[in-house]
């Protein structure tokens, strides 16, 4: 039966050529869009590794170039901020705060291995502000002041890439000619850049103000008590501006920053999905029309089959079968293309993402084909042999 169907389609390959190309392109478009969606959804469902509720980010831009002066003012500002009852804890950070648009990379090597990792410069209280869970070892703090190594906390992704099976605690990593990093803790997850990005290797480096005399950090993460709103924000900014005269201060909540980041990921996804749905609807309607037309042209053939004893359900099955075979031809071509993505590791995305997208795309194309063939095939099955043969 199936061989017979393949033969039928193969014999009319010229007239079916367009339908096959259509299914082929349709499959490729679906595969591309689904890969993007699967990738984003899978990332979205993984833990972020921190909690951002009630955390604000205060960005400060000084108006002078003198670091010494700016540092003095910064310390006064932080002193004043600590005095607010409404603030639970706070930590300075580099410009790559959670959900910020900036990134900072550093190359690290251990033994033969060398990787690029995100470097997050943060103060000791960062784990309290962002409610981080250290799963192995500890967070850095005052007790590291005496150490002549730079204490760092790494995430699981970095541990897996750099240390593989080894226990990373206490290991030294080359920083520059005179100093080393020392791993003091591991966190399970940390994905600060957005909910839709994959976990990347990263490590937290300690900001120790008395030691780093030449550096200035203008971003302050503040965890406020629940329920604090614009009222407190205004009060805080007014007071702090009084200390940092001429400085530009900007406060935003991490929730707002998260929404901005999500928008950047979601808008293209939604636009692509809409375009994809439209393309597929278009193809579905086209397929439907052509199938209908083809089947109505084969009236006499159907009449003959019925006359020699085929049941209407058999005719019905034949037409559905033909469409499925047609779809299979298009899909074989399409899969041959699409399978290159996981095989060649394009875009450095996990193969699973592509395979899931491939599976869903194949399923959808078959559904589409059956959906389009359903009505025309019923029409065909309902043809009365006497009528069909009479017309001939």
């Amino acid at each position: 039966m199936i061989r017979h169907l393949f033969k039928l389609i193969w014999n009319r390959k010229r007239s079916n050529f367009l339908l096959i190309t259509e299914i082929f392109f349709c499959f490729l478009v679906l595969f591309a869009v689904l890969s993007l969606i699967v990738y984003n959804v899978r990332n979205y469902n993984k833990p972020l590794g921190f909690e951002h509720e009630n955390v604000w980010l205060l960005s400060m831009r000084p108006d002078t170039d003198s670091t010494a002066l700016n540092r003095q003012t910064l310390e006064q500002i932080m002193q004043r901020a600590k005095g607010f009852q409404e603030i639970e804890s706070m930590a300075l950070t580099n410009s790559n705060a959670p959900f910020a648009f900036s990134q900072m990379n550093n190359q690290l090597s251990y033994g033969e291995k060398m990787i690029m990792a995100n470097e997050y410069l943060v103060q000791d209280d960062f784990d309290k502000v962002m409610r981080m869970q250290v799963s192995h070892g500890r967070w850095f703090g005052q007790q590291d002041n005496a150490s002549h190594h730079y204490p760092i906390v790494i995430n699981r992704a970095m541990q897996q890439q750099l240390f593989e099976g080894e226990d990373p605690l206490g290991k030294l990593l080359h920083r520059n000619d005179s100093s080393n990093y020392q791993v003091v803790g591991v966190v399970e997850h940390y994905r600060p850049s957005s909910e839709y990005t994959a976990e990347e290797p990263g490590f937290f480096n300690r900001i120790q103000l008395p030691r780093d005399e030449k550096d200035f950090y203008g971003e302050l993460l503040i965890k406020v008590k629940p329920g604090m709103g614009v009222e407190f924000e205004e009060k805080m900014v007014k007071e702090l501006s009084g200390i940092g005269k001429g400085w530009t201060m900007e406060v935003t909540t991490l929730e707002k920053m998260r929404q901005n980041k999500a928008k950047v990921a979601k808008v293209p996804m939604i636009a692509l999905t809409i375009i994809c749905v439209f393309l597929i609807l278009n193809v579905a309607l086209g397929l439907f029309g052509v199938l209908w037309y083809n089947i109505s042209r084969r009236n006499s053939e159907i009449g003959l089959r019925r006359a020699v004893g085929a049941a209407s359900s058999q005719v019905y099955r034949q037409f559905i079968g033909e469409v499925l075979v047609l779809a299979t031809f298009g899909l074989v071509l399409g899969v041959a293309f699409a399978i290159q993505f996981p095989l060649l590791q394009v875009f450095e995305v996990e193969s699973t993402v592509y395979l899931i997208a491939l599976g869903i795309a194949i399923g959808l194309i078959y559904l589409l084909a059956i959906g389009c063939a359903f009505y025309p095939s019923r029409q065909a099955a309902a043809i009365h042999p006497a009528m069909a043969l009479h017309e001939e």
Partner: protein, 413 residues
């Protein structure tokens, strides 16, 4: 003759309503997506208020410094560089220096407004044609005296003061009080060179003026006397930069910065091709993407057209038997198809007008004011024609090759 073809086309459309619907649906949606894209493109790169004389305007907003050790940095140029070297260029009619926009906060009645502030000079208002709803720009005197005056946009006025007059009132932004002197229509965020919520005199940031170095936080907007002067300005600018490079304190350092139109600036950052803006490549990429997008609906339309035309094989047979040549028949079907796509194009316009309104209202793009205009309309028409030709030629060719005898018998294999 043409009238006859159109008449036949119309009758055929009415005969098979379902097929007509499928074809029109495909055509109109494809063209709608393309027209929305065109409108976005036009909105970002085309002449729009306040940047109206696009063929006379050039923008400098990048400066790249490459040191001999392989270290490089890029970003907006500094005031020092622009003031000393760009403002002094001979060919341009006018040069304005303005800062990039910074986000700052403003508090009113326990609400927070996140506003974008831009520091500008007097020339900024001459070069760009803002549409003032009330008041006017600040003048040379206010800029020279570093007065705390501000021009705000409509949205900020409504948010801060409520509806009604704002000129003369005081707005507090980032803990500084400014007197409002003018209110302008909202400028969409896509026009980075002129966009802001609040514009204030550049002299309020005079601490930046004497910082040496090439990189900073400033843009320059250059206006030429006439479009023919644009290449001359580019040449003069390049010569000026070359001279600076030779005088650079660190030998072997390279400077790159160009006065560009908005599209050139985009192509330069997007393609990263250094000295050549790469407009041709950008256009090729865009055309390629458009073609790929049209491909699927076009194939779809081709297969529908083939089934439709097959139905009319006896008609073709008769015409052939009476001596019509293949080319006449091809001509007829192409005319019919173009007629169909133009019909779809009109529907597409209606649809895209609706979609653009949706985008404007959704606030995805801040202060977007997307719309259909003559340029978008012309592009849409052109795209419809191309689409009609692509999808019409193959079925027509296939039909024209039918043998008269077979066609009269009613179809072919």
């Amino acid at each position: 003759m043409l009238k006859n073809y159109l008449k036949i086309a119309w009758k055929v459309l009415l005969r098979r309503k379902f097929f007509t619907f499928i074809s029109l649906f495909g055509i109109s949606f494809t063209l709608m997506v393309l027209m929305v894209a065109t409108s976005l493109f036009d909105h970002t790169f085309g002449p729009q208020i306040p940047e109206r004389d696009m063929d006379k305007l050039l923008f400098v907003n990048m400066m790249r410094e490459e040191h001999s050790e392989g270290y490089s940095s890029s970003g907006p140029p500094s005031y020092h560089f622009l003031d000393r070297n760009v403002r002094t260029l001979q060919t341009p009619e006018q040069v304005s220096i303005n800062s990039m926009f910074f986000q700052v906060n403003s508090y009113i009645n326990n609400r927070k407004l996140a506003l974008d502030i831009k520091y500008t000079d007097r020339e900024f208002w001459d070069i760009l044609e803002f549409e003032f709803l009330e008041g006017g720009p600040f003048g040379q005197q206010e800029v020279a005296g570093a007065s705390r005056v501000a021009v705000i946009n409509e949205n900020t006025r409504n948010q801060y003061f409520g509806e009604g007059e704002a000129v003369g009132k005081t707005i507090e932004v980032d803990q500084v009080k400014y007197k409002v002197v003018g209110v302008v229509k909202d400028v969409p965020v896509l026009r980075v060179n002129s966009y802001a919520d609040v514009w204030v005199p550049i002299t309020l940031r005079s601490q930046d003026f004497n910082k040496p170095g090439f990189r900073g936080l400033y843009f320059a907007t250059i206006k030429a006397h006439s479009p023919d002067d644009v290449p001359k300005i580019k040449d003069e600018y390049a010569a000026m930069l070359q001279k600076l490079e030779d005088q650079h304190a660190v030998k072997g350092s390279k400077l790159s910065s160009f006065p560009d139109t908005i599209l050139e600036a985009f192509a330069r950052t997007f393609l990263g091709r250094g000295r050549e803006p790469g407009l041709a490549i950008l256009y090729t990429i865009l055309a390629g993407l458009t073609f790929l997008f049209m491909l699927l609906p076009a194939i779809n339309l081709v297969s529908i057209n083939i089934s439709r035309i097959m139905e009319r094989s006896s008609e073709i047979g008769v015409r052939k038997a009476f001596g019509a040549t293949s080319s006449t028949i091809i001509g007829q079907f192409i005319v019919e198809n173009v007629f169909l796509t133009l019909l779809g194009g009109i529907l597409g316009f209606a649809l895209s007008a609706a979609v653009l309104k949706l985008i404007n209202d959704s606030g995805v793009i801040v202060y977007a004011n997307l719309g259909l205009n003559l340029r978008v309309f012309t592009w849409g028409l052109l795209l419809s024609l191309i689409f009609g030709l692509i999808s019409g030629v193959y079925p027509a060719y296939k039909m024209s090759r039918l043998k008269a005898v077979e066609a009269l018998k009613g179809g072919s294999k």
